[in-house]
């Protein structure tokens, strides 16, 4: 579904990602893990068209999206839930969600999608007229994910969904991610919580200093000595 080949990404002209290749197949959950500042978020930005690779190639469902604009990428069925949620703080929850479906004009379809995300996060229906900034961290993360789903993506990019939320909610968020996958959405997950990220995924890539240092299934990596030492403190 997604194929990334030899991609280099720069931020303010400094290479952050040197040479990264990976793939995500239909129906998978793939995790990208690695310490802070290793460019994991940069990879997602490079996929969703916020920045463009200077070297390398990205294909999505057979189409070359290396230089495609963000709106074209959203239209193709990729949705990026960014690090730090990036809600529109002064707009209501409902407006945030509607903006997620910006490329759709069909109101019936938009309402259908709203029903779907309210089904996943019933609390958001109660909060729909509240400003997004008045919500708790966990609820804001729910809005961010729900907003990402409003474009009805085939591939959902999730950047640190556990960031800044209570541990009890982290489990709920991960349960939701499993549920979303069951509904047919493929997921690429960037996550600090390595244990959770490896538990939930089919396959994972370890990024170190802008390169893929290790790859394998979640179970393989959980059993790997280097992973246990560097990330799980075992």
């Amino acid at each position: 579904m997604l194929n990334v080949e030899g991609v280099q990404l720069r931020y303010s002209n400094i290479p952050v990602i040197h040479d990264v290749s990976f793939r995500v197949d239909q129906g998978e959950i793939v995790s990208i893990i690695g310490g802070n500042g290793n460019g994991k978020s940069t990879i997602l930005k490079g996929l969703s068209g916020i920045i463009h690779p200077l070297i390398g190639k990205v294909t999505f469902n057979g189409q070359d999206i290396t230089k495609a604009s963000s709106d074209a990428i959203v239209a193709l069925g990729m949705s990026h839930v960014p690090e730090g949620r990036r809600l529109f703080p002064n707009l209501t929850v409902l407006k945030n969600l509607r903006l997620g479906a910006f490329l759709t004009r069909d109101t019936v379809e938009i309402n259908r999608r709203l029903d779907y995300v309210y089904g996943i996060f019933p609390i958001l229906k109660e909060r729909s007229e509240q400003k997004a900034s008045t919500l708790s961290g966990g609820e804001q993360q729910m809005v961010a994910i729900a907003r990402g789903l409003m474009s009805k993506p085939k591939l959902l990019l999730l950047d640190e969904p556990s960031w800044g939320i209570a541990p009890i909610l982290v489990e709920k968020i991960f349960a939701v991610i499993r549920e979303i996958r069951k509904d047919g959405v493929t997921i690429l997950l960037v996550e600090q919580d390595v244990q959770e990220a490896l538990d939930i995924c089919d396959r994972a890539y370890v990024i170190q200093t802008g390169r893929v240092a290790q790859e394998g299934t979640g179970q393989e990596l959980l059993a790997s000595e280097t992973i246990q030492k560097s990330f799980l403190g075992l």
């Binding site: 604009s69 963000s70 959203v74 809600l87 703080p89 002064n90 509607r98 903006l99 910006f102 004009r105």
Partner: protein
């Protein structure tokens, strides 16, 4: 005396609505992309000349040429964005100031070159005349301008709050990058903001031509007042600009009435300084 006071209040209110309309585009463009359009008042001048020439050449009343003026200014706004603003959108603030200030000088210079510094006025329009309510006289052109300003501001607010594109404009204003992730093409939204922002001065200019002189420097004063209104209302706040426009209109006429007409703009500027010192974010501004 009392009648005169009420008369003053009414004229302050009427001009205040117009100030609000002139300021709304300025605040909208700033809120969207953090660019201060120093030439804002000069687009008003362009609109007024266009309105004037429609009358002088084709005998078209300013009220009837209003839709055409609005459309022309909408186009001019979009043209300005693509030609001048887009290239400097990520440039340092100083470059941005130079560009919009350059537009100001260019437009004034062009108007002076083409039409001389003469003051021009349309002697008789379909709106000429007064209505009286008790002791209070209200000029019909002023009343029409105020009503037009209320309607136009209402439309802008409705557009921003209730339509899909308006929502996208607000989203870009809140977080450009997040808006891109929603599939919103921020470039087109910026162009739209310039179109609407300049079209609103088009409406204001067309309404103003019915009762105000047209000359190359006419934008200077109105532009300055628009800045005071925007600062008072809060940079980027459309509703704030609306409230602030009325306040500035009232301050202007009341200080003119109570202290002396030669001081009225001084008090408007004192108000501006007061806002900058006491509440720099303005009445309804964020931060």
């Amino acid at each position: 005396m009392e009648g005169l006071f009420i008369q003053t209040l009414v004229s302050g209110l009427l001009i205040g609505f117009l100030y609000a309309l002139i300021a709304v585009g300025l605040t909208m463009i700033f809120g969207m992309m953090d660019i201060v359009n120093f030439a804002h008042g000069d687009y008003l001048m362009v609109a007024m000349y266009f309105s004037f020439w429609c009358f002088a050449l084709f005998g078209m009343d300013p009220l009837y040429s209003l839709p055409a003026v609005t459309l022309l200014l909408f186009g001019l706004g979009i043209l300005t964005y693509y030609l001048l603003i887009k290239p400097i959108i990520n440039a340092p603030m100083l470059s941005q100031i130079f560009v919009t200030f350059g537009v100001l000088i260019f437009l004034r210079g062009l108007a002076t070159f083409l039409w001389k510094v003469d003051y021009r006025m349309i002697p008789q329009t379909v709106l000429s005349g007064n209505i009286h309510l008790g002791d209070v006289y209200i000029g019909i052109p002023q009343l029409t301008a105020a009503a037009g300003a209320i309607i136009c501001n209402g439309l802008v607010l409705w557009f921003l709050k209730k339509t899909r594109l308006g929502m996208a404009l607000e989203a870009v204003a809140e977080d450009k990058e997040a808006a891109r992730l929603m599939g919103i093409n921020s470039d087109r939204m910026f162009a739209l903001a310039w179109g609407i922002g300049i079209a609103t001065v088009g409406v204001a200019g067309a309404l103003l031509t019915s009762f105000y002189y047209v000359f190359p420097e006419v934008g200077a004063n109105f532009g300055l007042i628009a800045f005071v209104v925007v600062a008072l209302g809060g940079f980027g706040s459309v509703t704030g600009a609306f409230a602030a426009g009325i306040i500035v209109g009232l301050v202007e006429v009341l200080s003119g009435f109570l202290i002396g007409p030669q001081f009225k703009f001084m008090f408007v500027l004192v108000l501006y300084l007061g806002v900058v010192f006491i509440r720099p974010q303005g009445l309804l501004g964020k931060k």
